[in-house]
Amino acid sequence: MPATWLVLIVLALSAIGYVLGRQRALQNAGGDSRALHSLPSYYGWHVALMALVPATGLLAVWLIAQPLLVENTIAGQLPDSAIPESSTRSLVMSDVRRVADGLDLAVSQGAMTRDDAATLRSEFTQVRERLAEVGVALGSDVNAAVLSAAQDYRSMSRVGNLMMTIAVLAIAALGFVYALSRTDRDFRARNVVEQGIRALLVAAASVAVLTTLGIVLSLIFNTLEFFKLYSAWDFFFGTTWAPSFGGGSELGVLPLLWGTFYISLIALLVAVPIGLFSAVYLSEYAPGKVRSVAKPLLEVLAGIPTIVYGLFALLTVGPLLVQIFGDDGVGIMQASTAVMTAGLVMGIMLIPFVSSLSDDIINAVPQAMRDGSYGLGATKSETVRQVILPAALPGIVGAILLAASRAIGETMIVVLGAGAAARLSMNPFDAMTTVTAKIVSQLTGDADFASAEALVAFALGMTLFVLTLGLNVFALFIVRKYREQYE
């Protein structure tokens, strides 16, 4: 791994830089640190950072850019004749990559010499067999174009790596020398170092923006790609969801949205009354001891991973419901995976979410309002219903909306508990499926990313992202707009 070595070398260089920079500054001041502008360690840090930061930055950029560049060049050089009818350029490129990796492996295991790998010709050698010897399985025989592309790929990568090594080391050395040359007793090392650190802090804070950007861009690009293959109208207004990887899929989102909303509705019907009453009881009625025990216990429900709830739905709640509503009982439930199963369990998961948020909001209602109500002769429940809840309403609505957005985005419970069939049905004991569950099923497995059946997952993700974001923004808006301001 040359990149690891590079990082280690640069790190070592910057460690040396720290020592030398510090020494040089002290020497310049005649060993008396009081004559320096900054503390001696700042001179050390200055050299160390100048050697380290630009070089690692360059390394990171190079590591990302080089494969893309090589990829594009090679893909551009592939003659059209090298791409079979049934295949696409990106599939052939993945073959090229695999052959190149295989050659690398063969060389590193000593099964081939470096020259062999570079001059190998598919006319004379059975490349597939030779690669199979070192444990690289290829799906089909390697044709001449792919092999020569793979060899180009390797040579370009090698040249690129060499250039990267040189460039990174050069930048590190340059920074090192430049920083060291500026080091003297009057150099304002602290100011420079602090500016540098500040820049690093800003960069760290920008990661959040970059993440959002990454989410939005990856969703948008792939969604657009999907809409090139499948009409947007059919996606948004189609009532049938029937993907088939052979082609001729119907990918209407409506059944999925219906399943999502139905399950979320049931979840909220469970979570909101229980959560709200718990919050009211715990904040208004419960003695301190009960509160200090019950509140953390309820919050344990929020700390349990969703996979646990998923298994609970699949193996405990589902079979239980089937016993009651299945063919032996009421007879309206066919299988243990159903909207009701997933909704109930999701409701349990959301209880602490609703109750903690509402609890905070109820506690924020000033005591004076309660006292005023009691003073007029109201009972506790009348105070809660007619004074506290109206005052806390915007916050509670906000909390419920947040819970709804959580329910819509929940994945594991519905993947395990809701079933896989997409249908528009009113019966809550039918199996239905949701947007999130279908994202998982369309993107897991070895699907080809260029097909509409895989790309639809990005369109679904986009729908989900917009929905949850909209709910969150709306919740925030309601809270801000209607919140009573108490001082």
């Binding site: 602290r190 989410i215 700390g303 009972t379």
Partner: protein, 452 residues
């Protein structure tokens, strides 16, 4: 409460109303009060009952996974079968596949059954097949290859019983159901009963479940969580190494340095929105950016760690900012007053004082990331059967692996009661990890938190 001023009330007000006699209206209000209170208690109780049911069913279903049925069999390692040349040549011994060992084990078990005097219609050693795990042959073979001198001796092995036998002893497989089961017959269960009485078939603590690797679909008795625990561990290393420094740096900037401007607002809005983005969307991001775009290897803990880092960052930033905020301004002022620069004040004084809070928040964020499954599904950590331990550090990060929650999901998908038991057991292990992390966080908070 405004009823006192209602006209009909004042008109019909009796002259002698006493506080000692409760009138109908008050009774009604008191009843409503009691009802309301009861609703509250019922709601809290329901929540707690759900919690108890959840934890109860985890424990009830999962404890079985920590016990496994073993058979103690003396196996005669027949030189005629295992080492035909008689030269104890290791290469020649290695050539004998597990198929060569299976009859020996079956013979061994058959002899044991005969010796124990159990009457059975099963008259061939081959009939013992259904009681022995397919992994037993590999176990015996590995022992022999490690120590070829054993050939020719009779060695006592502790081999895994097949998953049906295991299920029978754990009340998962019943005699009535076995009739329809082609994997085992009632006669086998009779033998098992006899062997249990003879102390040859025993249920023992199953360490392999905690340390072992995943097994193929047909061998639930052999599957363990060990490799995926390692996968989770490497993922958490990545998350910790990235999200702690980045999160702390971002929080310091936002809390201490950021000017009030558009860019700062943008970052703030972004962070609070990211905290509410569904985890599956982060999975899509990981897939698109790290795998499609950057061509990092699928199923690698590195990719999982990167994805989870992005997901955990908002949590860490929010809690770090809260603990930075709780350091009183007088500390900063005092530092600035004795001549520290702003940067020195923050790094030398504010940050150390906020450290316990930051660590607590980080541990809680890590615990969240550890239990997260949905993003891992998309970057290919499910469906990969984690049978190999990573060899070395680089391989730990880069080679395909599973993670604890992904492994549990994988087992849950296999639709086999024996694997369901493993999944519940895996959940117990996962919850133990989460509980430990949370307890550490609570202790840290209790021990170091300062009240100003």
């Amino acid at each position: 409460m405004t009823d006192a001023s209602l006209p009909e009330n004042s008109a019909a007000a009796p002259a002698h109303r006493s506080l000692n006699t409760v009138d109908a209206r008050t009774r009604k209000r008191n009843r409503a009060e009691a009802r309301f209170r009861a609703y509250g208690i019922a709601a809290v109780a329901t929540g707690l009952v759900f919690l108890v049911i959840l934890l109860g069913s985890i424990l009830f279903n999962g404890v079985g996974a920590f016990q496994q049925t073993f058979i103690k069999v003396p196996v005669y390692l027949d030189p005629a079968k295992l080492d035909k040349s008689g030269e104890r040549d290791i290469e020649a011994i290695k050539k004998v596949s597990t198929f060569g060992y299976t009859p020996l084990i079956q013979q061994g078990l058959f002899d044991v059954v005969q010796a124990a005097g159990i009457e059975t219609p099963l008259a061939k050693p081959g009939d013992m097949k259904q009681m022995i795990s397919p992994s037993a042959a590999a176990q015996v073979r590995d022992t022999v290859i490690e120590n070829p001198d054993l050939i020719g001796q009779t060695v006592d092995f502790r081999i895994l019983a097949s998953s049906r036998v295991d299920g029978y002893l754990k009340d998962r497989v019943f005699r009535e159901d076995v009739v329809r089961d082609k994997n085992i017959d009632v006669e086998h269960l009779d033998i098992v009963d006899g062997l249990v009485a003879a102390g040859i078939v025993v249920k023992e603590f199953n360490l392999t479940f905690i340390t072992g690797a995943d097994a193929s679909e047909s061998r639930p008795e052999q599957a363990g969580l060990g490799v995926s625990i390692l996968g989770s561990f490497f993922m958490m290393l990545v998350v910790l190494a990235l999200s702690l420094p980045i999160g702390v740096a971002a929080s310091i900037y936002l809390e201490e340095f950021a000017p009030k401007n558009r860019f700062t607002d943008l970052i703030e809005v972004n962070i609070s929105n990211l905290a509410a983005v569904p985890s599956i969307v982060f999975g899509i991001l990981g897939l698109a950016v790290f795998i499609q775009f950057a061509h990092l290897p699928q199923s690698a803990p590195l990719v999982g760690g990167l994805t989870l880092t992005l997901m955990t960052l908002p949590t860490i930033v929010i809690s770090t900012r809260a603990s930075l905020k709780s350091v009183p301004p007088s500390i900063r002022d005092a530092a600035l007053g004795v001549g520290a620069s702003k940067m020195q004040a923050v790094f030398h004084h504010v940050l150390p004082m906020a450290m316990p809070g930051i660590l607590t928040g980080t541990i809680i964020g890590l615990a969240q990331a550890l239990g997260e499954t949905a993003p891992l599904l998309l970057i290919g950590m499910v469906g990969y059967i984690a049978t190999n331990y990573p060899d070395g550090l680089a391989s730990g990060f880069m080679d395909p692996n599973s993670a604890m929650p992904a492994q549990i999901f994988e087992w849950a998908k296999r639709a086999d009661p024996a694997y369901y038991e493993r999944a519940w057991g895996g959940i117990i292990i996962l919850l133990v990890f989460l509980m430990t992390m949370n307890i550490i966080a609570i202790i840290l908070r209790r021990r170091f938190e300062r009240r100003w």
